[in-house]
Amino acid sequence: MQHDAHGAHGASYIEKIRTVQVQSSGEPYDAIVIGSGISGGWAAKELTEKGLKTLVLERGRNVEHGAGYVTEHRPPWETPFRGRGDRRHAEARQFRQMKAGPFNENTAHWYVDDVDHPYETGADDAPDEFLWVRGYHLGGRSVMWGRQTYRLAPIDFTANEREGRGTRWPITYADIEPWYSYVEPFVGISGEPRGFRQLPDSEFLPAMPMTAVEAHVKDSIARDFDGRAMTIGRAAILTQPLGGRAACHYCGPCDRGCSAGAYFCSLSSTLPAAQATGNLTVRPDSIVHSLIYDEDTDRVRGVRVIDRETKEPLEFYAKVVFLNASALGSAQILMQTTTPRFPDGLGNQSGLLGKGIMDHHFKCGANGEVPGFEDRYTFGSRPNGIYIPRFQNLPWEPSSGRDFVRGYGYQGGSGRAGWSRGAGQPGVGVALKESLQEPGQWSFTMYPFGETLAYDDNRIELTDEVDAWGIPVPRVVGSIRENEYRMREGMKNDGAEMLEAAGATNVQTFDQPYRLGEGIHEMGTARMSATPETGCVDRHNRVHEVPNLYVTDGAFMTSAGCQNPSLTYMAMTARAVDHAVNAVNRGDLRV
């Protein structure tokens, strides 16, 4: 059936990833990549395309692209709880994951079992102080990510230094810019070039269109607000075929999986490219215990693994190791690797490993109804919204200063109320049925995401408990502070102000309790720094003290910006692989 779907929109042909349960062997690989998510997939693609025999270790189960997307296109009447989710199961086994925004009846299987994968968190009175949302399967969270794709801007790399806050980035925008341009044509990002200084353009595929209401709000913002502008969301979703991937067919819920490959994920994009080189080996069910460190050479020699199914310990060896296990996962692996030289975790001379977790805070904003478009509607489900780039605290615009530092951008969009409004309004019988045959009011939601600062006591550390595989259970604690709370006032009020200017009615602000981690953009646990005293990885994402170990997932982020971060991880991964392969070829990296 799914093949029928592709036929109408251009063929998609994506090679199935072959996986093996290879056992440890004396024969080393050139490279090992730990993790198969959005950055691990890129590490695998770049390493293999540059000729390195590469082993990808994935801690979770295998997922086959297409066949593994068990809820794709499932209609609501085949969904047992009609979208409300299996509450009993979730409350028993996914009591943390169920709090993630994208968790629902059709995506629950992508999220981990909280009983099997425990973590401790803050004080007893705030048991869920940190929300750690995880997907343990081949492709990781690239399978169910939000697909919003933005570059960081020059100001994001200089903010810490400008303010004398936190750690200075040892790179500038100029260092990453060519690597954004390198990865973007492969990712496939639909969007509109606008030339914003605070939000550089990517290499774009054609943009998705705005609804009549969005076009109206966009015009109103351009007319009524200096320095503010709305554009269509920039999404890693194809508006035309690319490689073996088909263009979007606008079914809507991407995160169930897309057998057409219309959105970017490791399973549809990077891993097939890596496999095509003949240099890729993928081993799922491989939980990393620690890295094998050689005191004599100051290098990692390989990786110790526990097989998820058999619990058998295994070892794999390579010249270079890439850590792409997620910001918290990678920090955990470094902490689990203790040696006489590094009693507090590998590469932790600074004492900052695991500290300063950042995220993007959200769950506040504004919404309102937009009258005057009652005769307009939409066809198809656009898996994308709008974006309003940050307009606060721009160094070149003194009037944009606020009573907080950094800023926020808005996502959001418009839609007409659906049938569920029927339960909230009076009326029964034929009249109710007839009233729901037409779509309801247009509404517009302003949904901002704000930068969080790096507070060193927002952290991950290891406890004395161990999980079923003998791996220490981490404790993750964190919260947002005064700067973020001040920011949230602006996030709500600016949104309401823009809606009111556009003639919206019933404009309301909202502000729900936000837990650090809930943005699923956790980052910053092995921050990039100029020196080993001020952070964990150098300007090439290489652990300062361990020259053949790279960390290129969100762990390296020194500050967060307010933009969705995945594109930056991808670009920095490609850049780091280039550096590593040059080093291998020079003979600098050896076992």
């Binding site: 939000g146 269109p209 198809g380 569920s420 019988g429 309790p513």
Partner: protein
């Protein structure tokens, strides 16, 4: 999954192929017409009730048909709403929530002359349901529509009809993810955009009739007939048109 539901798969595949053959522009009603002889099997035909006894089933079936009756499309009882409610009561509701719902159902019979709502004639059923609706949705202050978890609508810009629908359904009784939360009451109020009528009372379970109406509406419009005959639903639209005259689309997307 219910056996009866799997009976719908062949028709669904036929529909999907058809809409693609037409370039993805076939609306569901049009496709239904073209498919002619394919009748929608009544969802829940093979469902064995687990919580509701027969008299309760009759009361519930009569109630949901008063809320969403058969017109030129099936009514709520025809599409399996009572079976959906039974599943929710059995496998989703907490025991105290289930008991409260069953008490509400018994209360309806208690208010019916003769002690059985199902035994009333259609007019008397309609009068009682209209009365309960008026009690639950007082005219002033006007209640905001439950227009689908507006506040939670756009994690990562995924503001689109399909995902909003999923949140809409999930959000009607507080999003599943928030059900366990300490602040669930406050959040539910924000997420569903519920109006002031329920502010301050949001920690309490919603009144029986409101729950019944929510379950009926959700069960009906997520059924195959509710989604594809009464409203419109396409598995694979094939294209996105951001601005179309409503008159060209016709009915709301389910």
């Amino acid at each position: 999954m219910h056996d009866a539901l799997s009976n719908t798969i062949s028709r669904r595949s036929a529909l999907r192929r058809l809409s693609l053959a037409l370039g993805g522009v076939a609306t569901a009603p049009l496709a239904s017409g073209l498919l002619g002889g394919c009748r929608t099997p009544a969802a829940g035909e093979a469902y064995a009730y687990q919580t509701l006894a027969e008299p309760q089933q009759r009361t519930l079936a009569a109630l949901v048909d008063q809320i969403l009756p058969a017109t030129d499309t099936p009514g709520a009882a025809d599409v399996g709403v009572p079976q959906f409610v039974d599943l929710m009561l059995t496998d989703w509701y907490a025991p105290d929530e289930r008991d409260a719902f069953l008490a509400g159902l018994a209360d309806v019979d208690g208010r019916a002359e003769g002690g059985s709502f199902a035994a009333l004639d259609g007019e008397a059923q309609a009068r009682l349901v209209a009365q309960m609706d008026a009690e639950t949705y007082p005219p002033a202050p006007p209640e905001e529509p439950v227009d689908g978890d507006v506040a939670g609508a756009a994690q990562e810009g995924t503001y689109n009809a399909e995902e909003e629908r999923e949140r809409e359904v999930a959000g009607m009784q507080g999003e599943l993810g928030e059900a366990m939360d300490d602040e669930a009451g406050d959040q539910r109020e924000l997420q569903t955009g519920e109006g002031q009528a329920h502010a301050g009372a949001s920690d309490d379970a919603p009144p029986f009739f409101r729950q019944l109406k929510e379950l009926t509406v959700a069960g009906y419009y997520t059924s195959e007939a509710g989604a594809t005959e009464e409203l419109q639903w396409l598995a694979v639209p094939g294209r996105y048109d951001a601005d179309v005259p409503l008159s060209e689309v016709g009915r709301a997307w389910a």
